[in-house]
Amino acid sequence: MHFSLLLNSALILFSRLASASTSSYKEQLLLRPLPQNALLASFNFKSNSSSTSFEQQNFRYFPRSLGQILQHAHTKELHLRFSLGRWDAESWGARPWDGAREGGTGVELWAWVESENDEEANARWLTLTNALSGLFCASLNFIDATKTIRPVMTFEPEGIHPKGAMDKLQLLHGTLPHEVVCTENLTPFLKLLPCKGKAGISSLLDGHKLFDAAWQTMAIDIRPVCAADGECTLEIEHTVDMVLDIARSKRPRDNPIPRPLPIEQMECDTSKSYHGDDTCFPLHKSSEPAWSVSEVFGHPLKGSCTLSDTETTTESICVNVPSDRTIDVKGAFNISQSSHNNDNLRCFTLPTDGSDFDLSFPEQTLQAPTTLQKPNLYAARSITGYGQERGGIQAVVSNPSPTSAVSIVYLESLPWYMKPYLHTLRAVISPTNANNGHQNKSKSRSTEDNLNPVKETYYRPALDRHRGTHLELRLEIPASSTLILTYDFEKAVLRYTEYPPDANRGFDVAPAVIRLLSSRETEGGAPGMYLRTTSLLLPLPTPDFSMPYNVIILTSTVMALGM
């Protein structure tokens, strides 16, 4: 239970230490088998450059195209996310990177832009979104004023900015929940990496596998790290996390349609009464499935991407499996292996001569199955109500911890055509029912329930066609309790031309962002703990679009007959 927590913090600590040198590049892949034949692959690429060479536009590891965009838009810190799918917290446990490197469904972008006033910030934000839209082949240019908010509590700068610079920085945040992330976003993403997917762990990134995953997120984080003496480095971090279904990924590409095995090769549950020559109930296997890197990703790793002049080769691929799991290393001979954290994490160094590298895991029954770290929070959000006029939102956030209360910030960025009634906002705390039966305990909690869990509210109402609703709440959830947040909203009637081509599909509403405020005071620059709900589909009253044409045709016919 603890080792993955340790792992996450170890990874973060490790990468923070590496960032101390002025110009370096580092990459790391973590593979962690999850229950139900799933596999988490977490890619992390980190490079940095000194701010002097960045300002002189001498780019080495930092991509030139992105660097020029940042300079042109006066952006000091940038976070960009492309996500697809849902992290199944119930069966997969805690999120990788504590959720700090993932975004809501679609595209999410937030940045700290240097500006003197709001108009200038808006103009630079517009420049930034348009330039990024071209670079990443995404519709980021559709992040206009109605989709942009300025969060106050949810996001803290990750970078360590030079003293006094924060006063001039403005945080802007925009989401595109409707955007479908696909291969055309991955190709420019790979181009920004020094090894461009030709060597090192990035050679495993392939659009066919990445977008076939049950959940995937691509992230780019750029932040400055300034020392006390004013010396700054600019860090860029590319992160790709995905959860693959092992059985699905192992399908050969030339024969991707799943077909039943011949009955002779099937393993049947012979204890069933109907078992016979022609009937077979598949045997539920308790053993870990067999898989290898080349099977799951389609091809083996192509050597290492070692660029630094001085540094020796680093361990760039780590596997998080119990110590008794057998791992066969195939390929080059010059592979070092080391173990961390009670042997639950095994790391490998890739061959530097560019030869292929592969890890394979035979089928094996483990003594102790993998334990997963429990998430700190569960969250779900849905639309309630019926009809074309009104609706409601219900968000359920539960704190599974039996001992400690959590404090969270709940951020909603709603489109303008969804108008919430703030007076209907209710936050109700109820004990999680799967609790022990101590009567006195629940009694004492019921007195607590009367306390309002909403500690702080920030609300900026929508203006039709000019800006969306921005709602931020700071909430307190006691131990092993569930918070139910509800409010009603009204659906606006749109103009004829404001409907998209697929108007009857509904309108996407951006996911809510939940930030866990940790009790201990973290130093500046640590990425926080985040959680995002799924996006919602809001049905709006949709007119019959063929009606005007019918009217025109009918009147024209009548007129023609009359003349």
């Binding site: 536009q57 780019f59 195209s65 330039a131 461009k196 002049d309």
Partner: protein, 570 residues
């Protein structure tokens, strides 16, 4: 009327109307009672008021809502500019002569005779050289000399500062102690020509020609020969052909045309991008900062009088060649890998190499250092064994074979030959003339060529805009366009005057502004995005609406007219 009097089935069923009445009505064809004049008058007034509404309210509204706003443009003057009738640029170059060892009288005479010789040699009247006497030692007398020397009419500049700037070349007359005289040498980094003479070559005040004067004249003529040819070519290529055009040889014209296609269009800012590409993972580092500082900055500094430059660099490893080219082949004889000449055009893998233009106004000039993999080096061009080439209007490529030092980092020394080649390529891409040998002279030549070409292109843009507004009467012309046109003409006039006065720095500045505002006026967004319909199309759109409205109005008038004629006759 007949239909009204005919018996209707309803009438027959009505018991109140006996059939007798009906028969009677059928028989008599009784005329309706004559209209009273009051009723006629009222009907005509109604008709008139309908027409009045249509004509005095409907038509103006229709006219007002469908008309496009057209700001007043000085079309006539614009066309004059476009045809080159307003400005005939001339290029009077001032050349200062310093003769510290000669007495003023003699040097003035020498200048006079040299000027005569020059004028005889020059066959291109728009471009002429004017000699001035000056010298650090005789500053006071130089002012007097300027007035007294009857070289030609010199427009005295307003301030001494620009006077100094606008001296294109300084000739230093030096007493040659040894070697053949007269001889000359040009400073490569200063606009100075040293002429050595022996004392006996100074012409006497009575003679009208001297070998020294002829020698200096011939030297000057050869120095500015290419500039004259270029300007003549430029003048010839514009629509208006000045009669006194200098004839240039076809080879020269060919050479100039080639240079024009190779070089970038003038821009106040250029972005230079230096990229290191390699198909493997090494080298992944280069001392580009130091190399640029040492080998490129001095050049960019001297070019800064013409344009500004931004410089950026990047390293790209694992950059493979484009699959469209056949790839390097091994040459057994020489033991080198070779690229075919036709592959050079596809060498730059535009699809995969991140060579996007820099953000901001102005074109990007790309310089690429390609380090081939160890297995494929040395890599040269098959036809001539070279390793660098220039891509017209795009940049330059250099294949760097066998970097001497450590494998992962290219040192400043490794980059030196490449950057020197890039410097030459940059000058060529900017359209710098190849002669004379002195860089400041070539730069000042370039500024004159740019001023002239900007002047011509801004004028022709004005002419094109004027023709466009004349041919498309339905195009909207916003006020900003009119303002830009006004500004363009102001700048053009200033640039033209600058050229005439010999203030070339000012001329370039004004010509640049003129070009900018002319382009802005021509590519005005609201004009470009307009959709134009032919008139038949408009009729087809309006007729279904106006037709049904117009029919009763017109028919009523016709009927009323008929009645009126009938009443007059009857």
């Amino acid at each position: 009327m007949a239909a009204m009097s005919a018996p209707s089935p309803i009438m027959e069923e009505e018991p109140l109307f006996p059939p007798v009445h009906a028969v009677h009505a059928k028989k008599s064809h009784k005329e309706p009672p004559p209209e009273t004049s009051e009723a006629i008058f009222r009907r005509r007034m109604i008709l008139l008021s309908f027409w009045a509404v249509a004509v005095f309210l409907g038509l103006p509204i229709w006219w007002k809502t469908t008309t496009v706003y057209r700001a007043q443009l000085p079309v006539g003057r614009m066309l004059e500019w476009g045809d080159g009738k307003v400005c005939k640029p001339t290029f009077p170059l001032r050349i200062a002569v310093e003769a510290p060892s000669l007495p003023v009288q003699e040097s003035q005479h020498l200048i006079r005779t040299t000027q005569h010789a020059l004028d005889d040699l020059n066959d291109f009247s728009a471009h002429h050289l004017r000699l001035l006497l000056s010298g650090p030692a005789q500053n006071a007398s130089a002012v007097g000399a300027t007035n007294s020397v009857p070289v030609s009419k010199i427009t005295t500049p307003k301030d001494g500062e620009s006077d100094k700037e606008d001296i294109a070349l300084t000739i230093k007359l030096l007493l040659g102690e040894s070697g053949t005289t007269p001889r000359s040498s040009l400073h490569p980094y200063k606009p100075t020509l040293d002429v050595y003479y022996s004392p006996n070559q100074i012409p006497s005040t009575s003679s009208t020609a001297s070998p020294l004067a002829n020698f200096i004249a011939a030297e000057l003529q050869s120095l500015f020969n290419e500039e004259q040819a270029t300007l003549a070519h430029l003048l010839a290529s514009t629509a208006s052909q000045p009669p006194q055009i200098k004839s240039i040889s076809p080879e020269m014209a060919d050479f100039l045309a080639k240079r024009k296609t190779r070089s970038f269009k003038y821009s106040p800012t250029y972005h230079l991008t230096f990229s290191l590409f390699t198909p493997t993972s090494t080298p992944s580092n280069w001392d580009i900062e130091g190399a640029l500082e040492t080998y490129l900055s001095p050049l960019l500094e001297s070019l800064s009088s013409i344009s500004n430059f931004t410089v950026d660099s990047q390293v790209q490893i694992y950059a493979t060649l484009s699959p469209s080219i056949s790839g390097p082949e091994f040459d057994e004889e020489k033991g080198v890998w070779t690229l075919k000449k036709e592959d050079l055009s596809g060498f730059v893998n535009a699809a995969e190499w991140p060579l996007s233009p820099s953000i901001g106004a102005g074109p990007t000039i790309n310089f690429i250092i390609y380090v081939p993999s160890v297995e494929q080096s040395p890599l040269v061009i098959r036809e001539n064994g070279g390793s660098s080439w220039l891509v017209p209007q795009w940049g330059g490529v250099q294949i760097l074979n066998n970097p001497s030092t450590s494998t992962n980092t290219l040192s400043k020394e490794d980059l030196r030959p490449a950057l020197q080649i890039f410097s030459t390529q940059l000058l060529s891409l900017l359209g710098l003339p190849s002669t004379p040998a002195s860089l400041p002279l070539r730069l000042s030549t370039l500024s004159r060529i740019h001023s002239a070409s900007l002047l011509f292109s801004a004028s022709s843009t004005l002419g094109a805009l004027a023709r466009l507004t004349k041919t498309l009467p339905s195009i909207a012309i916003p006020d900003t366009v009119a303002h830009d046109v006004e500004m363009t003409m102001k700048y053009l006039q200033a640039a033209c005057d600058g050229l005439k006065e010999g203030a070339f720095g000012k001329a370039l500045e004004n010509a640049r502004n003129a070009e900018g505002s002319a382009e802005r006026a021509f590519f005005e967004r609201s004009m470009v995005g307009q959709v134009y319909f032919p008139d038949e199309h408009k009729v087809a759109v309006y007729l279904p609406l106006l037709g049904p409205v117009a029919v009763p109005l017109v028919m009523a008038v016709v009927k009323e007219f008929k009645l009126w004629r009938k009443s007059r006759r009857g």
